[in-house]
């Protein structure tokens, strides 16, 4: 009960699948059902013909007829030419060349009338080209095909271009110019691939495969043929599939596998029969006939060749008919030849029996046995062989024995020779093996050695890395400690500074206390400044001179602006990347600070000019102000000047001061740089 249920479900499923056909056909039919009698309906009919043409030629033709009628009544020359073209093509395919000629005539007229409409011209040329190809006149067809390709290229009609490229390729192939054919076929394939047009691609694969077969490059052909079949299967292109099987058959023949070839040819034959394509059916028959002829199976070969010839005759396909006749003639010749030989032997045999010529009789038995064996008529061969031996046994025992012994010896000799050569081969093999083993051993040894070296290196590196890491850890810890210390010191200094300020406020009138507190405040501030400067200076991120100059700018602004002193700060271009040592940097900055502080506190200047530039191998800094000069302010700046000089001495730089009440003060510092 359950089994029946599942069978029914499966059948229903298949029925549904079959009924669905392809989605394209369904939607086209839907458009036609709308019966709007407009250009859309015409196009739908044209497209439907194209879908059906590979599986149901009668329905396809009907569509084209309707399209013709509609195009005429709606006066649509392009669609009309397309319909004519379809009819011409499908008639060519079904070998109705006269009908095809008729439609091509109509197309020519239309093309002449509408010579400015490229699509019409293109349709005419396509149909004419294909017509001549059908007649086997490949030379005549070529110009039409090429013209058509040109028109499509101008129109940039990509799909048609690709199709036409394929046609040109096919033409060259038929003319035997396989290299040219291949070029066009590959070009067409590329174009179809770019368009994602699977049908086109399948044709191209087929064509390229056929080219390879013609060039006897069978293994190159195989993947292409197979690929074409895959796509054709997807597209349910039955005609294409039949073609594909036929091509596979050709391929197998080329690879000397007649059994496989036969299977494929038979598939192709069956399909073409169901598709009612007699031309293709006949071609399949021809292929099979050829196959049997090759196998010297005369009767089967004859059957198929006959059938093929009849169909071609009926279709008026003289090109193929000639091919069939040639095959048959070839077959008959060998057949005849065979017949002659057989007759000769049999005649000789019978006459020898008559004349009692035992030797000849016996020999003829042998000849006949050989002959039939060659022609695969083994039953006859066996009979004659037995007769031969029977005769021989009774009449020529001795000779036979000798012969047999001779044969035996020969056989033994041959066998011994074979054995010797085998032994030699064995020895060679053994030696080679040995060598291989040695090589292998060496290889393994080297490999092991390399492993050891690598292990060594890895270990060494690990040790180094580990050590480095430890050092970094230690460094980090040190940095942390330093940082915490700095933070602690800085915070405490700050608190001293703050408390002194608070106390100052509370000191009020008491001058001595105020003074003392003032000094505490100042010195705590000074040392906080120094700490901050040192930390800044030793930070490697501040190595480039650019950073120092930035800090100098900020400092100048912070000090001079509140003091109401205008200033300029200029630097020459190439300074940015210069690198000073930590000491040089620190000292340069501190000298600068001292100078600026002096200007702000003691000079009474209104304008300051700061300049930094590079001359030759020196970094030069000049600070000029229009204040009252040093002489007057000596007592305040004594320490400061001393500091500046000593700092400059530390870095072996040259420090100069010019100062007078009239000209103000000019400080210059020259640091030697490499």
């Amino acid at each position: 009960m359950q089994a029946k249920f599942w069978v029914a479900i499966t059948l229903l499923f298949f029925a549904a699948v079959v009924k669905a056909q392809t989605p394209a056909i369904d939607s086209l039919k839907r458009i036609i059902a709308l019966d709007k009698k407009d250009s859309v309906e015409v196009v739908a009919y044209l497209l439907l013909e194209s879908e059906l043409s590979r599986s149901n030629t009668i329905a396809a033709k009907r569509c084209s007829f309707i399209a013709v009628g509609l195009s005429r009544s709606l006066n649509l020359p392009v669609q009309l030419s397309a319909a004519y073209s379809e009819l011409a093509t499908i008639n060519i395919q079904t070998n109705q060349t006269d009908s095809a000629k008729y439609y091509i005539g109509l197309l020519k007229k239309l093309a002449n009338e509408k010579s400015n409409t490229p699509k019409v011209v293109a349709n005419y040329n396509t149909a004419a080209g294909l017509y001549y190809r059908k007649l086997g006149d490949f030379k005549s067809s070529l110009p039409y095909l090429i013209e058509c390709l040109r028109v499509y290229t101008i129109m940039d009609a990509k799909v048609s271009m690709a199709g036409q490229t394929l046609n040109v390729g096919n033409d060259y192939s038929d003319m035997g110019e396989f290299r040219k054919a291949m070029t066009y076929h590959l070009a067409a394939l590329k174009q179809f691939e770019a368009l994602g047009n699977k049908r086109g691609m399948s044709f191209c694969y087929s064509a390229i495969g056929a080219d390879f077969i013609q060039l006897q490059q069978f293994s190159d052909a195989m993947p292409y043929i197979q690929q074409s079949l895959v796509i054709k299967d997807e597209l349910k292109d039955k005609k294409g599939i039949a073609n594909g099987y036929s091509e596979l058959g050709d391929l197998e023949m080329g690879l000397h596998q007649p059994d496989k070839a036969l299977a494929n040819y038979l598939e192709s034959l069956a399909l073409n029969k169901t598709l009612m394509l007699p031309g293709e059916e006949a071609k399949a028959d021809l292929s099979i006939g050829r196959l049997y002829a090759g196998e010297k199976d005369v009767s089967n070969a004859n059957d198929y060749l006959n059938r093929s010839g009849e169909i071609f005759k009926r279709l008026g396909d003289t090109v193929h008919l000639n091919i069939v006749n040639a095959e048959e003639a070839g077959l008959q010749r060998s057949f005849l030849h065979q017949q002659k030989t057989e007759k000769t032997f049999l005649n000789t045999l019978s006459s020898s029996i008559k004349t009692g010529d035992k030797n000849t009789e016996i020999n003829n038995y042998k000849y006949l046995s050989d002959f039939y064996s060659q022609n695969k008529q083994y039953d006859k061969a066996l009979i004659y062989n037995e007769k031969y031996h029977a005769r021989l046994d009774s009449e020529q025992n001795k000779e036979l024995q000798l012969q047999v012994r001779g044969l035996e010896q020969k056989y033994n000799l041959v066998r011994e020779e074979k054995e010797i050569s085998l032994l030699k081969k064995d020895k060679l093999l053994y030696q080679v093996n040995l060598k291989n083993q040695e090589l292998f051993k060496y290889g393994a040894l080297i490999f092991l050695l390399m492993l050891v070296i690598i292990a060594f290196l890895v270990l060494a590196r690990y040790r180094v890395v580990h050590k480095a890491r430890r050092l970094i850890e230690i460094e980090k810890m040190r940095n942390n400690i330093a940082r915490n210390l700095h933070d602690d010191i800085g915070s405490t200094l700050s608190s001293i500074n703050i408390l002194s300020k608070v106390a100052l406020k509370q000191a009020g009138e008491n001058k001595e206390v105020s003074l003392g507190l003032e000094r505490i405040k100042d010195s705590s501030f000074t040392i906080m400044e120094s700490m901050s400067d040192i930390v800044w200076a030793i930070n490697p991120a501040n190595d480039p001179l650019e950073k120092t100059i930035l800090k100098m700018r900020e400092f100048a602004a912070a000090i001079l602006e509140p003091a109401g002193i205008r200033f300029t700060f200029d630097e020459s271009e190439k300074l940015a990347d210069l690198k000073l040592s930590v000491d040089e940097r620190k000292n340069l900055y501190l000298i600068f600070k001292e100078a600026i502080n002096n200007i702000a506190k003691y000079s009474g200047a209104t304008l300051a000019n700061i300049l930094l530039h590079k001359t030759g191998h020196q970094l030069l800094m000049t600070i000029a102000d229009n204040g009252k000069g040093f002489d007057n302010a000596k007592q305040h700046t004594g320490n400061g000047l001393k500091n500046m000089r000593s700092r400059s001495g530390e870095m072996k730089a040259v420090f100069e001061i010019e100062s007078s009440a009239a000209t103000g003060t000019n400080i210059s510092l020259a640091i030697a740089i490499t």
Partner: protein, 209 residues
């Protein structure tokens, strides 16, 4: 009368800051702590107007504390206290929502002015900060619309980062000092807003929200 919370792990400094602020009648230190482990509840309870926050503290750093505070309190003004000034911690603190920073060496001179300025909505933008913002923008490799700065603001930021003072920038761009200050405040706000957006998205990514 404005209330102030202080977070500073150095005892001496903590006490001296309290002393300093006691000189100003309009500011009152309502709490001074040596670490910020309980910062959330403390800020909630005291609800101060200004928080002075040290950056380097044991346990939780000042930056984390700022981030936590900003999750529930957007209005309190936070000034970071720090020894070092070329520290990316400063930038991170500002990025996470602090309103300004002050070097410890300047506390005695400038603390009260800084608090006043920040309560008035001023946003201190030093060349250092400007440089850090510029670097940060470049690092992100987004188009200059990282902070959606106007071109004027970008000019100011760049000049600032090159070491020019606000006065010099005003002279260079022929604007008033006040205009410059307003612009820097805007840049600051945008930095904040951007940082807040980043914070949210970052939190999302880290599944903290």
């Amino acid at each position: 009368m404005h209330t102030i919370l202080l977070y500073e792990d150095n005892k001496n400094l903590r006490e001296s800051v309290c002393s300093l602020l006691s000189l100003a009648a309009e500011y009152e230190v309502v709490g001074a702590f040596g670490d910020c482990m309980l910062v959330e509840s403390q800020v909630r309870d005291f609800n101060p107007d200004v928080i002075l926050m040290d950056i380097d503290m044991p346990g939780m750093t000042g930056i984390e504390a700022v981030r936590k505070i900003r999750t529930f309190n957007k209005s309190v003004q936070i000034i970071m206290l720090t020894i070092f000034d070329d520290n990316e911690n400063v930038f991170n603190a500002l990025y996470n929502g602090a309103n300004g920073y002050l070097l410890k060496k300047y506390i005695s001179d400038k603390l009260i002015d800084a608090i006043k300025e920040i309560l008035q909505g001023g946003a201190p933008m030093s060349p250092l900060i400007a440089r850090m913002v510029v670097d940060n923008m470049q690092q992100k490799q987004k188009a200059n619309d990282a902070y959606k700065l106007t071109s004027r603001e970008k000019d100011i930021l760049l000049l600032l980062s090159k070491g020019n003072s606000a006065k010099m920038i005003a002279a260079a761009l022929e604007l008033s000092l006040d205009t410059i200050r307003t612009h820097t405040k805007h840049i600051y706000d945008k930095l904040h807003v951007n940082s807040q957006i980043e914070a949210v998205s970052k939190a999302f990514n880290e599944k903290l929200v």
